[in-house]
């Protein structure tokens, strides 16, 4: 049996006395597309922050390709081949779209903190950045500041920065949040293309997207995983229906009120 891309062992996180993640065990196999779903406040984003190193776990361990990364800093984890996007768009607003993507690949291309090489002469970087811009559909926005892009374009750029470094584990935090139907469809196609042959972990609220893309789904409720299974079986899972749909109805009621 091969080592899973990500393995969580009894992962815990509390803020003060509030427990947000309460002992999560999970294995995400290499090359699978794994979605994490759950009602609002279940701790999905916190789980993402823990794996990517934004938060330090209060207990438990995280393994990336079998290596313990718990407590490591975000940039160290990124260098080990894990790249993530953010729910709230997180780009370099005053730099050009092209430069945003290029910044995403500088480290992994091995240029590190070099102050003796000129970026404009690194043809490989330029070509690869342009290929990614083409892929995310922003080639014609190449030279404008990222901060003035439309919301959907910024979401696409967010993904572009995330995949630029060629990481083999990609984590997307609500990649289609706030998008229209047609924009979502485009985003799904994009995600399908870019995650080809890679491990994809994503948090997503849009069930259409989840069941369309995911090979496996985990359901997180109040900081605990209540199920991890294939989409068909999750659909039929009683506990999931109760926990998830129950609160979803509540959420709808609250939205109506």
């Amino acid at each position: 049996m091969t080592e899973p891309a990500i393995r969580l062992r009894d992962l815990r996180k509390n803020f003060g006395r509030t427990e947000i993640i309460r002992g999560v065990d999970l294995e995400i196999g290499k090359g699978t597309r794994h979605a994490i779903i759950g009602p609002n406040g279940a701790g999905k984003s916190t789980l993402f922050h823990l794996i990517s190193g934004k938060y330090e776990p209060s207990g438990g361990q995280i393994f990336l390709h079998g290596e313990d990364i718990s407590g490591k800093l975000p940039f160290e984890i990124n260098r080990q081949g894990l790249s993530r996007s953010f729910q709230v768009t997180n780009i370099f607003p005053r730099m050009s779209v092209f430069e945003n993507v290029r910044c995403g690949m500088l480290w992994s291309a091995g240029y590190r903190y070099a102050f003796w090489r000129l970026v404009d002469q690194l043809r490989d970087l330029t070509e690869e950045s342009e290929r990614i811009l083409e892929e995310i559909g922003l080639a014609d926005r190449r030279d404008i500041p990222a901060g003035v892009l439309t919301y959907a374009e910024q979401r696409a750029l967010e993904i572009g920065i995330t995949i630029a470094g060629g990481a083999d584990v990609i984590m997307l935090d609500e990649p289609t949040a706030g998008m229209s139907r047609s924009e979502t469809d485009q985003a799904v196609e994009l995600i399908r293309r870019i995650s080809e042959g890679k491990t994809l972990v994503m948090v997503e609220h849009d069930m259409g997207v989840v069941f369309d893309l995911a090979d496996k789904i985990s359901v997180l409720v109040y900081g605990e995983l209540i199920a991890t299974d294939t989409p068909e079986r999750i659909r039929g899972n009683k506990a999931v229906q109760e926990a998830y749909l129950g609160t979803a109805e509540e959420a709808e009621e609250m939205a109506d009120a």
Binding site: S52, R79, I91, F92, R102, A114, L118
Partner: protein, 430 residues
């Protein structure tokens, strides 16, 4: 595909050529300047400008490029200068042989070293904490400079003789004009390298960390290391500027590393525009002119500089360069000419407001400080009797009328600017 590739290569080649041309023209301008401005004063001012340009650009490597606001950048300028001054002294005492014209480089290395030491803990954070640490370190070093007499020379500072040591092409830097050419070469080289730094991976990531430190961490970069590298580079070039200062003035004192100098470089960079590479150059030129020329006319020049600075922060955060750059779209669209008339109509009221205010301030200042019996003052070639109510009335009227007209005309000027720069205005369809 191949067509695209060749045109791509052609554009790159053209861009490279254009960039090269900019540097060649700059070099030519530096070479010709002393032929145009031949007076001794002009050479002094230009030398000071050159030093200020390197210093302000080094400052902007932190503020504009890296998002680090420092209130203590003079530390690296001063320490580099003191070290270079000592080098000159050591050469003079024949401890070793070293060409004087290279001492700025040694000053730079010393600045780099100090930046490495101090930056190792101060660059942990950006923002407010970084700013306060830089202020604290600045005060610390300024106070220490009066205590550690061996290195800083106490109140008198350290002085030396730049004509010592081996010369170059027969120059021994006895004349200011020889120093001018030395500074010009150093400015060109330093500016070139500072520009190139901004185009390296480290320089690009400095921008990225400025924009969004968190995101930079998630693409593999430690924000702290990125900042430290910019900080050290800034210290290095500030040290070079300090070394040039040592050669030019042959003396360094506590004043060269205290808070006033640190504040001055912030003013220069900001007034010029921290968002553009050439911004600090513009700022350094203008600030030096104010400092040397305006101070000859009025005691109140610092007050005026302060007013200009505050107005820049409030109304033109992109600085003077930002104002120039605002007009690039209009120029590209060929509509700059449509702005001439609106701007000219604006000139008169603004000039009235300006003259009125300056007149009032100067008269008040003279009345406060004039010896008894003195009733006349001359400022900017105008002589008035500040005890009679007439000039007061005239200047007040000028201020009020100028202010009123400026307010009235501003919307129209703004509208014509809008029309000249927006793509969808009529006329753009052609």
């Amino acid at each position: 595909m191949s067509v695209i590739a060749t045109t791509g290569a052609a554009t790159t080649r053209r861009a490279t050529f254009r960039r090269l041309a900019v540097w060649l023209v700059s070099a030519a301008v530096l070479l010709i300047l002393p032929q145009i401005f031949t007076s001794g004063l002009a050479v002094t001012v230009m030398n000071q400008m050159g030093i200020a340009i390197v210093f302000a650009l080094s400052y902007n490597m932190m503020l504009g490029q890296g998002g680090m606001l420092s209130f203590g950048h003079a530390v690296y300028f001063g320490l580099g200068g003191f070290f270079a001054m000592h080098m000159i002294d050591w050469v003079d005492q024949q401890l070793f042989v070293f060409p004087i014209y290279l001492t700025p480089f040694m000053g730079g290395l010393f600045g780099l070293f100090m930046a490495l030491v101090i930056g190792s803990f101060s660059t942990r954070r950006a923002g407010t904490v970084f700013a306060m640490i830089s202020l604290g370190i600045g005060e610390l070093v300024a106070a220490l400079s009066l205590i550690l007499v061996v290195f800083f020379g106490g109140e008198e500072g350290v002085s030396g003789d730049r004509t010592t040591g081996p010369g170059i092409f027969g120059f021994n830097f006895l004349q200011d004009i020889e120093v001018y050419y030395l500074i010009a070469v150093w400015v060109l080289v330093a500016v070139l390298f500072m520009y190139l730094f901004s185009r390296t991976p480290a320089g690009r990531m400095a921008n990225a960390v400025r924009d969004n430190p968190e995101r930079a961490e998630f693409v593999g970069y430690s924000q702290r290391t990125v900042r430290l590298i910019s900080f050290c580079a800034a210290g290095f070039f500030a040290g070079i500027a300090g070394g040039l200062f040592a050669i030019n003035y042959e003396i360094l004192t506590e004043q060269n590393l205290n808070a006033t100098t640190s504040g001055g470089v912030l003013l220069m960079a900001y007034i010029g525009g921290i968002g553009y590479f050439i911004g600090p150059i513009v700022g350094a030129v203008i600030f030096t002119l104010l400092q040397t020329v305006l101070s000859g006319y009025t005691d109140l020049w610092v007050l005026y500089v302060g007013l200009v600075f505050l107005a820049t922060v409030l109304y033109v955060p992109t600085g003077l360069t930002g104002i120039m750059m605002m007009h690039v779209p209009a120029w590209r669209l060929g509509r700059l000419r449509s702005l001439v008339v609106p701007y000219l109509t604006m000139v008169i009221p603004v000039a009235m407001l300006f003259c009125g205010l300056v007149g009032l301030l100067e008269m008040f200042h003279y009345r406060n400080g004039a010896p008894t019996g003195e009733v006349e003052m001359t400022v900017f070639y105008v002589t008035v009797d500040f005890t009679s109510p007439l000039p007061w009335a005239v200047f007040t009227a000028l201020t009020l009328a100028g202010g009123y007209l400026t307010r009235r005309l501003a919307p129209a000027v703004a509208a014509s600017f809008q029309a000249a720069t927006s793509y969808d205005a009529k006329g753009s369809s052609a």
